[in-house]
Symmetry: C2
Subunit: 196 residues, 2 copies
């Protein structure tokens, strides 16, 4: 039996964090135990609290401590618009723009057949139910413009079309402040095709 | 009061980890809560266990759950040699070579005046006491070959010299498997000066 069993267990547990390998995990464990035991206890409590309290909003599927999240409870929003995003971070980015006042549906992921993540895992069925409540008139697909995000938007778009629900996709184009010379060709081609 | 208070607290707590900014912390929190609640609970317990059980070895200052660590209790080692390293990870690297059979003193840090870390913080006084026990004949300075590690070795070397204790430094030279063309000039100059 090693005399550093709990330390080894901590390094192993830190490796469960995304993007953390054995070297980073050792460095984190060393830092917390040598310089920041208070931080270690704080993080321990925060993990337990969040893990036991945070659940999914019944309407939009995002993280919340209640049955329905604050955004879905906000009656001042435009109920005819429903914006589909991949994660709460994407939702937060849209909120920060101040340009959208409708409701959200958070997939909490994206389609990724290689990782075994199919339509059921991102709750496409619940999204369709939500979108066919008779109030929603437009679903705005705001998944990321990555291969997986595009595929997710495509699959959801087809399902919405079969149900006869109108949907739009965020515009593809040249980002604000960029010089054409440095923008990738696919983006410029899209911006040309979608010119207005 | 936000309905995601515990989630925000978790993101803040994760930022106490070295090298983790707000984006990484959000990604980690999202991953744990969405895909790995078991990992979150595991990490929570591991942090608490390690933080409450791990202490410093009274002889070599490394992390241990006991009063004296296993390495210091190992009577098969050469008590005449004492190797000074910065961290337990450095000690582990030396152990893996299988080329050293003496004891260690782990500074648990390095001199870094800019961060307010002086000789007292890395236990130079305890090291001198340990090295003047009458048994130790050679102190091997194996701090890192960075600016701070070199400064640490220099300060400890001077203190040992005043006490009349013999010390050596790990050899500087060309790493195994490297081509001279790609080795930095300072290293080649050292390898030339120390040729044998």
């Amino acid at each position: 039996m090693s005399d550093t069993g709990t330390l080894d267990a901590l390094v192993q547990a830190l490796r469960r964090l995304p993007g953390v390998g054995v070297k980073s995990a050792s460095r984190m464990a060393f830092h917390l135990l040598q310089n920041d035991r208070e931080g270690a206890e704080l993080l321990s409590r925060a993990l337990h609290e969040a893990s036991s309290r945070v659940q999914h909003c019944e309407r939009c599927h995002t993280f919340t401590e209640n049955r329905i999240c604050d955004t879905c409870l906000d009656e001042g929003r435009d109920a005819a618009r429903l914006c589909v995003v991949e994660t709460p971070a994407d939702q937060a980015a849209l909120e920060r723009t101040g340009a959208y006042k409708g409701y959200y549906y958070v997939l909490m992921g994206r389609l990724s057949p290689l990782d075994g993540i199919g339509p059921r895992d991102i709750g496409v069925q619940q999204l369709l139910q939500r979108a066919t409540d008779g109030v929603v008139q437009e679903v705005i697909l705001a998944t990321n413009f990555t291969a997986e995000g595009e595929a997710t938007a495509h699959v959801i778009g087809e399902a919405l079309q079969r149900k006869g629900i109108g949907f739009t996709r965020l515009a593809r184009g040249v980002p604000i402040g960029s010089e054409l010379e440095y923008v990738d060709l696919g983006t410029i081609a899209h911006a040309l095709a979608d010119r207005r």
